[in-house]
Symmetry: D2
Subunit: 340 residues, 4 copies
């Protein structure tokens, strides 16, 4: 950590700060210039509060040199994390595809879609039972009944299931759900994150609509610090000024997160695009960039879907996309093997 002081700091104040920092086990290295004095701090500065020091009236600014996340940090955990989910895994060179409807609507709907996505090669079934909707007047999901139908589809198809949890009080209902999704709007619902840290469930942590990489990783850190190592990061588009697409898919997150963290990375082009016709190209981009997988909305009858119809792929399009993704994944793997 580096502390940049204002011009001509009071000597006594400076000594006070220095001795307080040293009492915290930090060694302090000043650089005195003609117009600026800088303190270099060496030691474990993770618990030093940047805000606290910034507020001192003789301090100009404070800059962190090290990332504030530790359990999620690749520096302290160089190996990729691989997460077992049922008979499959996320990370470690595999291509995870979580596919299914935005909302569970009926047994027939769910089973129709589950069978279709399984036939096309999806590795998990997604489906919303509790739906966070911006309007209180919109369909809020089938709730417990939705979970029951997901479990039925899991039993029939063998696909592990992914579903969104909105509140810690719902945890008992998710006992047999394989992956618990935390939605973008709850990425900083710290009460929920803490509760999930107490479980050992795989958590699919969506990036908040305007969360930075650091904030996102700090939310993962809440879960990891609680003792649950099974966090999968999911980029689903960020909010920008561009309104033609629902959100802007930040494809750079793949190489960025690979460097910063060991956690697996999945992309959700459906929410990012908001329009079915854009999704296949974006999904191909994600796999070519090296993502560990995708979350994709599929519906056999988008015109009658009860939520997010416009962004659902029909099974035929999903099937073709899966075949194209396989070609691209093979090309990437071959390149990574052969070109050194």
């Amino acid at each position: 950590m580096i502390i940049i002081l204002k011009n001509n700091p009071d000597k006594e104040q400076l000594e006070g700060l220095t001795s307080w920092l040293e009492s915290q086990g930090i060694s302090v290295h000043p650089t005195v210039g003609a117009s600026q004095t800088v303190l270099g701090l060496v030691g474990d500065t993770r618990r030093i509060d940047v805000d606290l020091i910034s507020a001192l009236d003789f301090v100009d600014s404070v800059k962190r040199v090290q990332e504030p996340f530790k359990d999620a940090n690749r520096k302290f955990h160089p190996e990729d994390t691989v997460i077992k989910v049922g008979n499959t895994q996320v990370g470690g060179g595999t291509m995870t595809v979580m596919a299914g409807p935005c909302s569970v609507e009926s047994e027939e709907q769910l089973l129709t879609i589950a069978r279709a996505v399984k036939a096309s090669g999806a590795t998990m079934l997604r489906g919303g039972a509790f739906k966070p909707r911006s309007s209180p007047y919109s369909f809020q999901g089938m709730k417990i009944e939705g979970i029951r139908l997901l479990l039925k589809a899991k039993e029939e198809t063998g696909l592990p299931i992914v579903s969104e949890i909105m509140d810690a009080s719902q945890l008992p209902l998710f006992d047999n759900v394989d992956v618990l999704q935390v939605g973008a709007r709850n990425m900083q619902n710290f009460s929920l994150l803490k509760a999930l840290g107490q479980t050992r469930k795989p958590i699919l942590l969506k990036r908040g609509l305007c969360a930075t990489y650091e904030e996102w990783l700090m939310s993962a850190e809440y879960i990891l610090a609680g003792g649950n190592p099974n966090v999968i990061l999911c980029e689903r588009g960020i909010r920008t000024y561009e309104t033609y697409t629902r959100n802007t898919l930040d494809i750079a997150c793949v190489p960025v997160l690979r460097q910063l963290t060991h956690l697996p990375i999945v992309l959700d082009p459906s929410h990012a695009a908001g329009k079915a016709s854009l999704i296949p190209d974006m999904a191909c981009a994600a796999i070519a960039a090296g993502a560990d997988g995708l979350e994709i909305e599929v519906h056999h009858d988008p015109a009658h879907a009860r939520s997010d119809g416009p962004q659902a792929l029909v099974p035929e399009v999903f099937d073709k996309l899966m075949r194209k993704l396989t070609y691209i994944k093979d090309a990437v793997d071959r390149a990574d093997r052969e070109i050194r």
Copy 2:
């Protein structure tokens, strides 16, 4: 609501849609042009799902003409809402000032600040007991003990108190808290909003970091639709590309919300600025724009504050600001009276 169709829609599909809409009590008025057909929908379209219709393959796009919020809508509730809080009120021409520390840290700290802000004319005392922090390693607040100290300060000073609630399970602890604050990160924590809708407590609903006016009002609608009419909106800066300030205070929200809604509007320049030296001018701007009040962080010793020190005003600066605000409020009131 207006439905814009693609070129040459299939006649049968179009009739299907029309008869379905009519069965929902909506009358349909088509405009057929050389290159475009448009359907004008007349009736209560609030429950018609835009997504559902957009997904039809012969539909180009759907545009709402009416706002999707009803209870929060000034059109259906033309009179300004005035909310009673203890011996004071929010809205109705008054200037509410909620002042106090970011976090409650000790009895001495809280009482020192409470006395100071009361002496300067603040109308409520704010203080955080449960603190949402982006890092799990940062100070998370004094929790129940913090609430206890706030109640003590209320007893001594007579100031109503404002404090943040993070989860519905904390509701019993807030029985004697006058105003329950919902933080920006929880603006779309719909479980929490629904629970608050079941109370009759005044709720200070902060705008999410990248929430649109409509999303913000829809979150207010969750509370109002539950039966609780006491919602105060609080702008605290939105996230933009500019990083010099912590957030960008959207001053236009004052006239915009005045037109869209009847709910009172308070601005929080402290979180928006993130730097104490910028706050007074921003507070003056808010009052001149016609806001119903301010939420301002005050700390007698910012350098030792346990959170957000850099954005806290010291009591002397707060006192001068209160005097300046009074001059400006008087000028605005006089202008609104005299100039017609």
Copy 3:
């Protein structure tokens, strides 16, 4: 175009508007509802000024149904545009790679890099002679001498050259430059765009830092409307709140622009990332998404580059990337051929 009127519009005003529109060759179809009247306009509304009508005091809002760009619009020009550049072409299934240094610095530097990128399979040489720099104190490019060196490199390697023009007065210097680049900061320098519309040079039009798709296509329209059909669109990242990368590469632009326009689309991951280590994965994503090509900065000695060193690939890394891109492009082409 659709005009949504306020409640109970004055009959006379409405008739005035209707007859004025009809005098412009537009037919007007009103839909009268209980709470809203809507006018559907049919005809060539491209020259009707939205602002003008919005300002009428009985008008609530005006919505365009058709895009305001015509020459750039795929609806009126369904075939992909293919642009000949020297012995190569942009669009039409090829993979264009414009590679080279950010700035031309010396003959030796430029020739070293030009030979390297040619050997790796680049199809054009890029290099800046006139440099738009945010600081007046930064290196502003070698100017005319830079152009001379680019022409020399073109002569030796046979690669067509791409270089940025900053002002119409520089046009004579660019006589033998194959592709004229318009930088992001000049995307709405309409004086420059109009001048380029008078030439027949291929123009590489970069997206502005916060330009919407529509604004970008309207800037292309300025060039096309002047009579120059040779416009290549180049996405180089947009500005968002995320500061870890220099800009946010908007990968969705590829499928979006494919639908909206017939012009070729090139992506520049170098400026988007700002960090060399992120570029290869982003370049792979662009090709997998279906882009017509890439613009990539390459420097044999980034540490001594006079501008943008951190985002330049060294030739060895560029060479490996080109091989990987070929694998991915082959996979994409094969999928597009085989999967129907």
Copy 4:
């Protein structure tokens, strides 16, 4: 400037960098920690290129401690700049109001508005002769004839005139224009900025749609460094995700720029709001925040304005606003005098 090195930098490379920096007159102060080495640089680092050093492979990052702008920097020029314009001045405690139509449309239109705004107390007349429009099909201004009419209005009313210049080649036409406006889209048109630096004309430099404070001040620096000290900064709203208003007025710019620079600051609520009904409250906010003035669009017949009608105030509303602004300005001045 501070250079943060990667772990275990090569000793020889480090010595190479150190001696090169010392040869540039910079003294280098290393801080060696267990996991990080930091170099503190002391001296005039304004010409050291951050990019160049960042690109060294043993460097992690580089952070500037001092602002890169010098002529615009309050640190080196503590007194407020006051700019004489005709018989009035900008800055120094006055309240400048530049009012008039978006576009000059006819002699009658311009004179009607000029007389009205003068009567209400405006200190300058604004009017566009050359109009930057996003569509090539929109009205592009009356050009030379527009300038002629502005000069006529100036002669009749005595009001100095403000008009936008789009290209250096237009400079001769602006000989008798008092203030030359640089539009938001041209804020980084460096060719134009350099040409304006060679004049001694007052320049009204609008902030780019997504320009940071630093970029904006660097653009001012281009003009100042050329020898022209007469730069007025004008905030006109930045682009954010919120689309209800045309742009988001960044009110915090007033206190921020007061600290960073000595140049006068004017706000343009018309472009920021895009809707006439929002403008008065935003104008009041600007003056309360301490701005040196306002630029406001006024039109006697907005429904027939040829550009930006929806954001023009009618003279009656402008007149009331001017009276309210006077009340607020008086209150602010009185507070600044009396409260210490």
